[in-house]
Point group: C2
Chain length 331, copies 2
């Protein structure tokens, strides 16, 4: 296993400690609960927003904590839902009098942990609401999922409700916006290679040198099918077709287009993919009003990418354009 890792058991805590050390003014790290939170949370004048999931998808979600995004993230171990008591403790620590909104990608383990934590929190008097994200068009049910999976499109929900919260939205308003964004957001990804979880020490699945997994899940779950490795044009066309035909996105639509790297694919390739996707959307009469090219929701060191479309209306476009300040600054 060729990774920067010490004892694999400490992979997540060591990553979180590094993250906190790099952001001493803005983030707080609570090791007992894998908890990363804004230094200024909770705020009395703003709902708090919490997301948790397995680790291994960074920058989702621990590096998405900050102004205009999440108030806290409570990751589990690699590809494992956080324990209920981590979620519960996270809610407690960021509970605002205006309430707490939980963002949960649709996986059975995550749903269970967050639903139980919500119940306990409500019993203690905290106003809590939950939004489920299920943007992945690849498959209906999956290894860890009843219904569709939540993948990189989660970012659009997080950004929109994060911006709305900074603008003063209450829980009802944030839920309305988040549900709207999720309802117009679609994603499909594909793997060129498998990923290697530190605790396993070897690739999570076998993928021959001449094959790819179309519709792969972010935990390496099987997608729609294995197929022969093709050139970028063919791969991107298959992804764009699957995503655009699903909602469907049609001529005249204005969208945000995200090309998301899965961890092992360099940014040069992601921009090449972006160019191809842009031309395909032009051909369909779909206007790209906003774009994101980079890593948003990864699968450890997997080579591959996903494509997300999110239909913009004026409200969503404005919220996406609001500033956000997280650990993921560049220059």
């Amino acid at each position: 296993m060729k990774k920067f890792v010490n004892d694999p058991k400490n992979y997540v805590p060591e990553m979180l400690e590094g993250l906190a050390l790099a952001n001493p003014d803005t983030l707080r790290y609570v090791p007992e609960f894998n908890l990363i939170m804004r230094a200024d949370a909770p705020r009395d004048d703003k709902i708090s927003i919490v997301q948790g999931s397995g680790s291994g998808h960074e920058p989702a979600h621990v590096m998405s904590v900050g102004k205009g995004m999440l108030d806290a993230a409570c990751p589990g171990d690699v590809f494992s839902a956080p324990p209920t008591d981590y979620v519960l403790e996270t809610i407690k620590r960021v509970a605002s009098p205006r309430g707490v909104l939980l963002l949960v990608n649709n996986y059975t383990g995550d749903r269970m942990a967050f639903e139980m934590a919500q119940e306990f929190s409500e019993a203690e008097g905290t106003d809590v609401r939950t939004l489920f994200i299920d943007d992945d068009v690849s498959v209906q049910d999956s290894t860890y999922t009843v219904g569709r999976r939540g993948v990189a499109g989660n970012f659009f929900v997080m950004k929109a409700v994060g911006a709305a919260a900074e603008r003063g939205a209450g829980l009802d308003e944030a839920v309305r916006i988040g549900e709207k964004v999720n309802s117009v957001t679609r994603t499909m990804g594909m793997a060129l290679t498998a990923c290697t979880p530190p605790a396993k020490g070897s690739p999570l699945f076998d993928l021959p040198d001449d094959e790819v997994e179309m519709g792969v899940g972010i935990h390496g779950e099987p997608g729609r099918r294995r197929e022969e490795l093709q050139d970028a044009d063919a791969i991107v066309r298959e992804l764009v077709d699957a995503v655009a035909d699903d909602l469907p996105f049609t001529s005249g639509d204005r969208v945000a287009l995200m090309v998301n790297g899965l961890g092992g694919t360099p940014i040069s390739e992601l921009y090449l993919v972006y160019g191809i996707a842009r031309h395909l959307l032009d051909d369909r009469g779909i206007e790209v009003g906003r774009n994101y090219v980079g890593e948003y929701c990864t699968s450890l060191d997997m080579a591959g990418a996903s494509i997300t479309l999110s239909r913009l209306d004026d409200e969503i476009a404005e919220l996406l354009a609001d500033p956000a300040e997280t650990a993921m600054r560049v220059f």
Copy 2:
């Protein structure tokens, strides 16, 4: 070769086209010269700053064009210096009456192309100065280099002179600042895996599963030595020791610390590396006043990382803190 690529000959132009399509308001792409420039360059009131190098190091340098950073970048093909006429044309198109500053990483091919282009430009009446960057402590001379190589530390020079230029610095002042930053900046990298250039289609060098290359160059050049794969603590200690002992950085120094991924290493591992490096610097009494964790100067899909230290004084710290706006936004 598991990559998003069509005809490998078009890898760079397709990447650049995608980059330009994603940034229509701020960047201009001139395909005939592989040229990416700011839409508002040249400006009469500001020196222009140009960097070129081989491609395959993105976001260096085409994704570092923008306010507070470069005015233009003219990349060559993957790991190849840009042709002199590309550099010459780039200088022409962004020539400001206040002059043009060329930033050149110290490789023989890049030096030749830029030195010739500078001569031609000066003959045509443009005021041109060049800064060479040579921050890599790994080896003295190398496959493509007389003297030390220029690697990720280049970012600090680019950011400081970019900020100074926005503040109104003339050529002399920018050269003074850039030389100062280069003189206090040191880097060493290491490869966990080789990288695969699209035109080659196979790994650039052989690196057994249980070995790493300490001090690797960003084109896969040999470093100090091959050694057995060790845990993250041991690898990071070797990098930090090599870098800190070189200048040397000593107790009481305030530094910027960069953990730079080489393309195939996920951000989770980079933060883990950051935490280790931070503790080692604490032990040495070196204060980290500013940090950068992410990809700045990559080697295609190589797994690995480099560590850079740059000694801060008040002037450099202020310039590094100035805003910059490039394609590499996140949220």
